[in-house]
Symmetry: C2
Subunit: 342 residues, 2 copies
């Protein structure tokens, strides 16, 4: 009887980091490579990656200087989380056919230690949900909003990149807390999605010429929590709308990742005037909160109160372009790449 | 036998707010007025102001828009804290001769309710110390550093405007916590004062051409707490030196008060990269902490571990210029104005 490994190809494909971008990444920052496929060593699990998640944080890993996470070296396989299926296991607790998520990279197959894998239940929700609303994206939203935003019923929660994977969950969690949820997104179509699909109370288009005035009208009681995914000029527009003792969890600065000249934020005096607490956070620092977050998200999903969208590109070879497009805001919801043809 | 009131003049002097400044305040923003002196009504205390404190926050009250505190109206007596002596009292607990501090304004005499006055012990420390290191200035330093900076022994505490009334106390309190205390000040003379008189481990001159590099050398372990009094370009220089999980209590933004065009802060991405908590605070929000702060400051002073300097101008009529000079950094330590000739 053939084992899973017997059916494996001799080689598989990876996307490796070929050169550092100056500003916006281009196709030549990435290289498709074909490499031998190794069987698992004792204690290892071999998985076949099914769907890859491409996320803004990867851009920070492409810098020359460390940010919150070490940078990638030229020649590294690009980092990224996937949902995957175990094809061979020499580690206890994992068997062929098991579904897992992990930071398994831009490649067809991955070898992993059990500690790098998390089993998922694909009968409770679609597998890709565990890369998004029920996975690290949703947990990021929960930790930033609940632990650092600390919204109270009746307060106004504003979130930028509201149609994105994190932002859309932030608004839905805010509504579940009894807050007014207002989004900021780029373009009328995304704003409609934020209001209709995710149920925000309002959403404002930052590309519209009257953005600042429209935003002011959308938060008549001011802003108690600004969940910031973008930084830059949008942050500058929000700062004067902050209420006394408001909280600004900073989840990312996507507007600045590709910027060769950083934007200068002019309205920081509001941090002082309004006694604002602004706090950068990174999910990996708060593993203690993951179980609570995971449970809250699963309950919201099971109750039909957590909606998400996905944009799925097809094929590992198209992952670089999907990543570049995502940084430009072309995606709706979570940007994924299907690695294994359905 | 004559009562205190019998000896009072019929009129006294005030400085009233004459016009709003555009940028740096000028002499014509202030007007010296002579007004009748009223005796105390039942429940009131009449005090003669001895020494006035002029502070950066007053500049914010001169704006057209409210900041954390309501703005002054044209025609108002300028706000400011004084040490004063009771000359007549129709309120319980206050008798002629008592020394008090309070926000009693730029004027020779003031009428106040008992709740607006705090008695001081001028045998424990000079009266003017209660306007500075043992008063709201010292309490501001304590609250910002201890409650929001949360320094731990061995950490590096950096403070801007280090030769100023608040900054000099911050560094001394940091040293008492077992921290490395590093100051930023303008010019070699102020830096020497910070090192020699206040005992900071180091102080860096922001006016020197190699400021950024010198600052980097002065904090070889990075910065765990940046107590910010100034904002603007100095904040931008400090941001890349912050350690992971560092804290930035924002006590003021004196570099920006007179700015007609606010400076754009470019390195805010470090808030995210380094998971920084930046928090604006205002002393009046934290009255619950005042008793602890007052006690800690009095103990440090009694132990000879709390040093301060004063710059004293003479005469109410010179208060506007003293205020303008203080905003430009001409003072050493606390800027005071003696209202009653010695």
């Amino acid at each position: 009887m053939p084992t899973a490994t017997d059916q494996l190809p001799a080689v598989h494909r990876q996307i490796v980091y070929a050169q550092r971008p100056h500003g916006t990444p281009t196709a030549d920052c990435f290289q498709l490579a074909t490499v031998p496929l190794q069987p698992p060593a004792p204690g290892q699990v071999l998985v076949r990656n099914d769907v890859l998640s491409v996320d803004p944080y990867i851009r920070m890993r492409m810098e020359e200087k460390d940010s919150y996470a070490p940078v990638m070296a030229i020649g590294d396989v690009l980092v990224g989380r996937t949902v995957a299926q175990v094809v061979d296991s020499r580690a206890e607790g994992f068997a062929p056919g098991d579904w897992v998520v992990g930071r398994l990279g831009w490649q067809d197959y991955s070898l992993a230690a059990p500690g790098e894998l998390q089993k998922i239940d694909i009968t409770a929700a679609p597998a890709t949900a565990y890369l998004g609303a029920l996975g690290s994206t949703g947990i990021t939203a929960w930790v930033g909003l609940m632990a650092f935003g600390q919204p109270k019923a009746g307060e106004t929660v504003l979130v930028s990149a509201a149609s994105g994977a994190v932002g859309s969950v932030v608004g839905q969690l805010a509504r579940l807390q009894g807050c007014r949820a207002v989004g900021i997104a780029g373009g009328a179509a995304k704003c409609e999605l934020v209001r209709e699909a995710y149920g925000f109370d309002d959403c404002v288009d930052y590309k519209a010429p009257d953005f600042a005035e429209a935003l002011r009208r959308a938060v008549p009681q001011g802003v108690d929590v600004y969940f910031d995914n973008v930084g830059g000029p949008i942050l500058d527009t929000v700062l004067p709308l902050l209420n006394n003792f408001s909280r600004v969890p900073v989840c990312g600065l996507v507007s600045q990742y590709n910027a060769t000249e950083p934007y200068g934020v002019k309205n920081l005096r509001e941090i002082f005037n309004r006694r604002v607490t602004m706090r950068g956070f990174v999910l990996s620092d708060h593993r203690d909160l993951w179980p609570r977050a995971t449970q809250a998200l699963a309950e919201a999903y099971a109750a039909g109160r957590l909606h998400y969208r996905e944009t799925i590109a097809e094929g590992l070879e198209n992952a670089p372009q999907a990543f570049i497009d995502m940084l430009a805001g072309a995606n709706v919801g979570k940007q994924l790449v299907r690695l294994r043809a359905a």
